[in-house]
């Protein structure tokens, strides 16, 4: 068995204390939120922390509440708890559904949304969907708290924009309004998805026109990426949007830095974006995929 090298676990009582601990131990310390990615990386000596700051013991950080029209999800909420949360199921069902398909049951039982976002594994599902749902994150440190959109949290593959001593404490996701349509789909060959595609549409008239759209792609590129040019093509009448889906798919592919790797060639990934934009569009509108 590959064994972990020695480290010390610290138990902060609040986010501020966690931040102080992080600042104190500097590069020797890491936040321990679920451990699914962190401990794997430590087993392979990709990370060599001597101190783990256990965010899970901080009271209140695993709550999931509706406040001011938004879901407020504590950073240490597990994928499973989000998947099962009546609040999430009711107010943002696309999020609940995506969470129910993250990795496998064991990862969902221990892995946390905050940990997932901070670790920024290129093949993870949540960030891609949160980009289109308009998710934001609350970041706390001794210097105070700030709230940034998920897009600004993402710095690159395995890299977040958290500054030293900063801790992600909360994810805020606006609840779905009756005019919203959203869906997330993935295409999976290996253990981790080959493609993730999230789509959000605002339709005042039951899907006849779309006044606003957000689309993001993940897994095919180093980090989840919005297709801003594609979003313009995805507004207008249903018929027009449907006609422009192929153009929009190319726009998404152009926006993403498509990788040639053993998951597939960039060419194939571009093709998958085409296929899955069609599918996710129909899924978001509740149309049959058969």
């Amino acid at each position: 068995m590959t064994t972990l090298s020695r480290f010390e676990i610290h138990q902060p009582t609040c986010a501020l204390e966690a931040s102080q601990m992080l600042a104190h131990y500097g590069e020797e310390a890491g936040i321990y939120a679920g451990g699914t990615e962190l401990l794997l990386a430590m087993k392979h000596s990709a990370l060599n922390y001597r101190h783990l700051i256990d965010l899970k013991v901080v009271p209140g950080l695993n709550s999931i509440d509706m406040r001011n029209g938004s879901l407020e999800i504590g950073a240490t909420s597990t994928h499973r708890s989000i998947e099962r949360s009546p609040n999430v199921q009711q107010h943002q069902p696309a999020l609940a559904e995506m969470e129910s398909q993250v990795a496998n049951v064991r990862v969902r039982a221990t892995g946390t949304l905050g940990g997932n976002l901070c670790f920024a594994e290129p093949h993870s599902d949540p960030a891609t969907l949160l980009l289109v749902l308009g998710g934001s994150v609350k970041i706390e440190s001794a210097a105070g708290a700030r709230e940034i959109p998920v897009s600004e949290l993402i710095a690159g593959a395995y890299a977040s924009n958290l500054q030293p001593g900063e801790i992600l404490t909360k994810i805020t996701v606006p609840s779905a309004k009756p005019t919203h349509r959203s869906a997330y789909m993935k295409f999976q060959i290996h253990e981790r998805p080959t493609l993730g595609l999230g789509l959000w549409l605002d339709t005042p008239d039951e899907g006849r026109t779309f006044t606003s759209a957000r689309v993001a792609v993940g897994c095919v590129c180093p980090f989840p990426t919005r297709g801003l040019n594609a979003e313009k093509l995805l507004t207008g009448s249903h018929a027009d949007v449907e006609k422009r889906l192929s153009e929009a798919a190319d726009a998404i592919a152009d926006a993403a830095d498509l990788l040639d790797d053993h998951e597939g060639s960039a060419e194939y990934k571009r093709h998958l974006i085409h296929v899955f934009l069609q599918r996710v569009f129909r899924k978001a509108l509740g149309e049959s995929l058969a």
Binding site: M1, T3, R6, I189, H190, S265, H271
Partner: protein, 760 residues
Amino acid sequence: MKPLSDFQIVNHSVPRGDGIPKVTGGAIYTSDMVVEHMAWAKVLRSPFARARILSIDASAAKAQPGVIDILTGYDLKGLQPYYGHGVKDHPLIAIGQVRFVGEPVAAVIAENELAAQEALGKINVDYEELDPILDVDTAMAEGTPRIHETDFADGSFRGFDDFPGAAGNICQAVHVGWGDVDAAFAKAAHIAEGEFYFPMVYAYAMEPYVAIADFDAKGHLTVYTSGQHPFMVRHDVAHVFRLPLNSVRIIVPYIGGGYGSKSYTKIEPLVAACSWKSGRPVKLQLSVEEAFLTTRGDDARVRIRTAVDARGHLVARQATIHLNTGAYAENSPMVCRKAANRIVGPYRIPNIKIDCFAVYTNTVPASSYRGLGGAQVTFPGESQMDELAEMSGSDPVEFRLKNLAHSGESIHPGMRPIDADIPGDIREAAKMLRMDRPLAPGHGRSVCCSASDAGAHPVTLAMVQVYADGAVSVLSGSTEIGQGSHTVLTQIAAEEMGVPLEKVRLIGSDTAVTLFERSTGASRTTTLMGRAVLEACREAIAQIKVMAEEVFAVDADKLVEERGGLRHGGKFLTWANILEQYFKMEGCSIVGRAYLRKAGDLTLVPVFWEIGVVGVEIALDEETGKICLDSLVTIGDVGLAIHPAMTEGQDLGAATMGLGAGLFEELIYDGQQLMNGTMLEYRVPRFSDLAKNIDMKLVQNRDGVGPYGAKGGGEGAVNPISPCIANALYRATGARIRTLPLTPERVWKALQEKKGAAPR
């Protein structure tokens, strides 16, 4: 022959002998074992595919707390450090050179795993990098240096007579042929010709390689190992340490999967050397990632052409097979031999010319993989059968039926005639798959078959102990690797001795206790060990009959054998009663034994023909190229199923393994580095890959040389699955793909080309 209805235990799906331990956590595998005063080893592996080792400085590592000793290639004085049952080319740890990324260079022996692991980073190895030789073409090109600079001695268990490779980097060359292929091709009505590629695969036995070695104070060596061939391991280890056979005791508890990957010797000489050097019992437990770097299957490039005459009869097949064997021979010479034999398929082909080469490269050593060369060559062979059927204007099933060898016919001159009803099997599979139903869009069906010369070299010795209290023990050198040997062998003993199954205990896989059994592989255990156990029971009974003359005080010819004992008039005594009355002492037992060798009806090779017959219906997502199985049918032509449920389980398991290589499995090298050697990246079949409809059938014609007419199973269905999927894909789309695995992207690209459109 005893009718099926007379069997009380054999041919019944009795509870597994290893069932309760395996569902309660009580089953102990080598990875679960600890021995008193045991130390742990961890291995430092080469970062280079080909390099000279200039020096190793382990002094800092040795000074680490908890570290007991370090083993390197400089410490092997007095040993014969090169092992190998086929070619003695494999150093137990790198000596002066490394030949693949991942080759063991040093081992740390420490009080615990953590100390051993942490000390690895303190070992400094100075390498001189050499240009790696990573593919077969480079390896065979003129002027390419030899990966092994010396010629190595043949091991004593090659298992066949071909000479090793002539020179250069050819590890083994095998040529099979008869008739005149050139003349036949010249006259042929249709010729299918192509180049096929079967990928580099990893068996993923879920228990990674593990062994515990313990040299005792008298110099006797005990090794607990997850290896599936204890007697082959004994041979290699005894050779390395120059020990007599009775000084080496190999014990194999339950094995967490093998599929060929645990055949022959793997880490045992290294672990034994760690114990020899440190004076401690030492356990080495590899991680799965290290197992990826230990053995894989040979990937194969096959250039093949096959011809038919105007009446649709096969007239010739010619093939050149190149196996990428990696850095050491392991069992690839045998894979080479078997690939050459098995590419002929179960057909009458009057003209054959096969040239097969196992070629050394600086990659992970390849060795046995379920089907032993069969999967690699059935893919091209059966793909071409469908191509030729189309050229001949025939239905693929009818085309096969026209050419299949019938029972008693020979497909290889000089070898055992076919001992199976392959045409009947194919007809049945086609019927089960309901080939005549219309196909939905994106769907395609195919039925494929294979015939493998199975059983390996038949030397199998067994003992049974019959106790005076009615108990029976079977002492067998066959390992329980999940195939159910411990169940099947006890069933046979219970049937023969006429005792309840619960009275039979299996004592297994301890070379100090059980007699020689060459191997547990090549689907041989039921056929050979099963027959040896049956004969050992009969031999014990023969002994008891002599004793019975005294006990009954009558001549033997007056005694009538009934199930479980002897009758004289109204008096019936069980075998146990007779023993009890003969010895007049509690606790006695006698030994019955059987020594099978290549003689009598086991003279002809193969021991039996292992038949694979499968049918699939695929459902293709034409947009993504993803293939799913709608239906899977398997036929197990096994002579007699000692345990029907487990026999079907072998067919489904083998078919599923074949599905992996057919659809997703492939080890990918980028330069000298294996890129996907973790289970996060190497994709094996999972629950969601299960076919929607599964139908399995056993054919029991009792036509084998095994007990009651049984033959082996478990490796048949792995072979024809991938061509079956490729043929079904062709039926669905018209796209013929000759490279595996049929990943979504590969299928999509083929469909794009088929449409004539340049891929977007």
